[in-house]
């Protein structure tokens, strides 16, 4: 008991400091734009950038790149997360290419692509004729159909039905339901194309054969630690200047920066916030910082538990949370608060709600006074220090308005297990999402049965709206659907969006050719460093 009190007092003191810092550092709120909606997301987001460099006679032959998390598998059909996308971007191609700075789709492996009907359930594709896999086999429509059939990503499987192969280089992709955003999905790494022959010959490792500019050197592959890549000299597109690249895991941020300073690696992501200034002051290192399409959020369990039928409780928490305090506590100084549960970079972002649920401790107190149950369990994945810190800050913020948050610490496996849609036991939890560019991507967090639906939401109207949103290309209609979803989520406080994170990429000064993006799935295929 005594110890608990003491740790509480620690926390209190810490928070007092934080609020001091917050008061001092508060910027003016962004001015409302012409439409009367305040500008979402970061003030001046770096969209996407290809780092420019100078031409040189010769380039370094080998480059090491530090990863922040494990690459556990080489097969794009089996896993989807940002770390793996670095690899997939280099080794595989997708049918389409999406440029998120121009927001336009273009062909990659597909020479032509178009909707084959007006219900948005069939896409007609013709393939480039000159593409060969790393195994030497030519790319055919069969491979495309095979790849889409086998991918386990829900992005694809939610609406993909089957592909009709018409001839060697032509096929129709048929969807089970309309999805106007499916072409974006086809540009996503989850629908990367692998060689059917290779996978059938070797089910375990055949998935590692792609068509991209880099080939995996299987002999030097250490699962979960490093992937060695060599240049694909038979690549159909522009060939990289570097001959070989190793992606390897250095999970600690400080260690990564030391390795970068010590020239053991040439590029890294996620500089420790406390060390950004130090990294920037080094002439050997160039640092890019940028807002990301990642959002932290607070999810209530809306199916069972005390929050499920208690709007006042949910709103009280929403009023109690001061977002700025959160990201100051986690040290993410480039973060920006999130108002709507939607990506700031998405086309139909909306946050001009009638009901203001911004930080307001007085209102929170009023609501808490009306509550019978003033206790809420918050499940926290202690594997991430951000979640841990945020949970403590939220606990303190709620305490101030009279609401008791009990923190249940679990590791990441426990967090996932306890929040599975079908058997969720958490009352509330902290989580994050990397949002793709297309608006329907938010369906992952809102649709019935999805394991990433941490709010365990089963709202008929939202489900209906999600369906409507992908069945038309009429921008006004879609805007209305998505605005309604955002309003529903906001007003009912199913989720409380917290903030959009920022990230940094640091690299050896002189390196160029990397395609850096707010979506964090940077493409390092063309990284090169002039020989000194």
């Amino acid at each position: 008991m005594k110890r608990m009190k003491r740790s509480l007092s620690f926390l209190l003191a810490m928070l007092m400091l934080l609020s001091l810092a917050a008061c001092g550092g508060k910027k003016d709120p962004a001015p409302p734009d012409d439409n009367g909606t305040s500008q979402p997301g970061p003030q001046d987001p770096l969209q996407s950038t290809v780092v420019q460099g100078t031409e040189a006679d010769s380039y370094r032959k080998h480059i090491d790149i530090a990863l922040t998390q494990q690459i556990t598998t080489l097969d794009p059909g089996l896993v989807s997360n940002v770390q793996h996308y670095y690899l997939f971007n280099m080794v595989y191609n997708t049918l389409l290419f999406y440029d998120n700075s121009t927001k336009e789709l273009s062909g990659e492996l597909a020479e032509t692509f178009a909707w084959a009907d007006d219900t948005y359930t069939k896409i007609h594709i013709t393939l480039r004729p000159d593409v060969v896999f790393h195994s030497g086999a030519p790319l055919t429509a069969e491979d495309v159909a095979f790849s889409l059939d086998r991918t386990t990503s829900t992005l694809v499987t939610n609406t993909y039905d089957h592909a009709d192969v018409i001839d060697e280089h032509t096929l129709d992709i048929v969807l089970s339901q309309p999805n106007v955003d499916f072409m974006y999905v086809l540009s996503h790494n989850s629908s990367a194309i692998v060689s059917k022959a290779s996978v059938e010959a070797d089910p375990d490792l055949g998935g590692a054969v792609g068509t991209g500019p880099w080939v995996i050197d299987m002999k030097n592959y250490v699962a979960g630690d490093s992937v060695a890549l060599v240049r694909n000299d038979a690549y159909w597109g522009e060939k990289p200047k570097t001959e070989s690249i190793t992606l390897r895991l250095i999970s600690n941020a400080s260690s990564r920066l030391i390795a970068l300073q010590n020239k053991e690696v040439s590029l890294m992501t996620s500089v420790n916030p406390t060390e950004v200034s130090s990294a920037k002051s080094s002439p050997d290192i160039t640092v890019h910082d940028y807002a990301t399409a990642q959002m932290y959020y607070f999810a209530f369990n809306n199916t069972s538990g005390p929050a499920a039928d208690d709007l006042k409780l949910r709103q009280a928490v929403a009023y109690a949370i001061d977002r700025e305090e959160l990201y100051l506590a986690t040290g993410d100084t480039g973060a920006s608060p999130a108002t709507s549960f939607w990506g700031w970079h998405m086309q139909y972002y909306f946050d001009d709600f009638d009901l203001d649920l911004g930080y307001d401790p007085e209102k929170a107190k009023e609501l808490v006074d009306q509550l019978d149950n003033k206790t809420l369990h918050l499940m926290v994945n202690t594997g991430s220090s951000d979640y841990r810190i945020m949970s403590q800050v939220i606990q303190e913020q709620c305490r101030r308005v009279g609401l008791e948050i009990v923190i249940d610490e679990v590791d990441s496996a426990g967090a996932t297990a306890n929040s599975k849609y079908a058997s969720a036991t958490h009352e509330a939890m902290l989580y994050s999402i990397n949002m793709n560019d297309w608006d329907s991507d938010m369906g992952r967090l809102l649709s019935v049965g999805s394991n990433t639906n941490k709010a365990v939401l089963n709202n008929e109207r939202i489900t209906e709206l999600l369906g409507l949103g992908v069945s038309t290309t009429d921008e006004a209609q879609r805007a209305a659907y998505y605005q309604e979803i955002q309003t529903l989520v906001h007003d009912n406080c199913f989720y409380i969006p917290l903030y959009y994170t920022s990230d940094t990429t640091a690299y050896e000064t002189g390196a160029s050719g990397m395609h850096l993006s707010y979506s964090r799935d940077h493409d390092y295929s063309y990284i090169c460093i002039p020989e000194a």
């Binding site: 110890r3 740790s7 007092s9 620690f10 926390l11 003191a13 810490m14 007092m16 400091l17 001091l20 810092a21 600690n252 941020a253 400080s254 920066l257 030391i258 300073q261 420790n272 406390t274 060390e275 130090s278 202690t382 594997g383 220090s385 841990r388 249940d408 610490e409 679990v410 590791d411 496996a413 426990g414």
Partner: protein, 296 residues
């Protein structure tokens, strides 16, 4: 008659010190062990009384203007990212680290010693079963076992202690068993058995008190390794979390600043090192003092 009195005198000359006195005497000659004991005395005194004389404000008192200042006369170990004086945090942290060390070892003591005693005392099947189980248990590396236990129980200070404790159980089982084996056939045990005392009575009142020395040595050394293990778990992200000033947590928190402010890592590590060294020196000294081989 004259001779008799001489004889007595002669016998007196050969009289030995009591076993404990002998051990203490030899321990006192071991400079390392004495240094260790002195360090530990100071540490214990600090850990037990720190609440009384250390102003809480010094440990938790934040002062952003003073943040991340290098070691100076005013702040011996410098200040951390919140401007807290690292020296006082390390001083205060002694109670966490010592508590973890002792509670963890207590956990393995209360499980390991009875198991080892039973195995050694009964022998035969009971022994085989317990020792096989111990073998199996110790086939899992200690740190891994601790991680598994933390995964099962969840992360908290108590669970950390249990985890570290559980992973050193096999050591205690083995030590106790070996010690019990050497005394279980001694006459006083046979005598107690002949008197019809219960096995439990014999184990706890006759056997174990005579096996204390190896257990004490083991305990001292295990406290040392428990402190290291606990800080390792903190380092792996499974231990006590900041802002609690546990040394491992301080060290881990300091890692984020290692590039520019390495003293934040250096001093807590130094504190762990000195404490653990003190336990090891004392334990090693005890082992030497209790080792009959070195009596010659």
């Amino acid at each position: 008659m004259k001779l008799d009195s001489k004889k007595k005198e002669g016998l007196k000359q050969y009289r030995k010190r009591s076993a404990l006195g002998e051990i203490f005497h030899r321990l006192r000659r071991n400079k390392g062990a004495m240094a260790g004991a002195c360090i530990l005395l100071v540490l214990f005194a600090v850990a037990l009384t720190v609440d009384l004389w250390l102003d809480q404000e010094k440990v938790i008192g934040m002062n952003v203007r003073d943040k991340l200042q290098g070691p100076s006369l005013q702040h011996w170990f410098g200040t951390d990212e919140m401007g807290r004086d690292l020296f006082w945090r390390v001083v205060y942290g002694s109670r966490f680290s010592l508590a973890i060390g002792f509670v963890a070892v207590f956990v393995s003591l209360i499980v390991g010693v009875p198991l080892g005693a039973v195995a050694g005392y009964y022998g035969k099947k009971v022994e085989t079963v317990i020792m096989r189980f111990t073998d199996i248990f110790s086939a899992v590396p200690a740190i891994l076992m601790a991680v598994v236990v933390v995964s099962v129980l969840g992360t908290s200070t108590i669970n950390l202690m249990i985890a570290v404790g559980v992973s050193s159980i096999p050591g205690f089982v083995r030590t106790t068993r070996a010690a019990v084996l050497t005394v279980r056939n001694e006459e006083y045990v046979e005598a107690a058995r002949a008197l019809g005392k219960s096995d439990l009575y014999i184990i706890f009142l006759h056997v174990l008190p005579n096996c204390l020395s190896p257990i004490i040595v083991q305990t001292t050394l295990r406290v040392a390794s428990a402190i290291v293990s606990a800080s390792s778990l903190s380092f792996l992200g499974l231990g006590i979390k900041p802002p609690a000033p546990e040394w491992g947590a301080l060290l881990t928190a300091g890692r984020d600043f290692i590039l520019d402010y390495s003293y934040l890592t250096f001093f807590p590590g130094l504190a762990i090192m000195i404490t653990v060294l003190a336990f090891n020196l004392l334990g090693d000294g005890l082992r030497d003092a209790m080792d009959p081989k070195l009596k010659r």
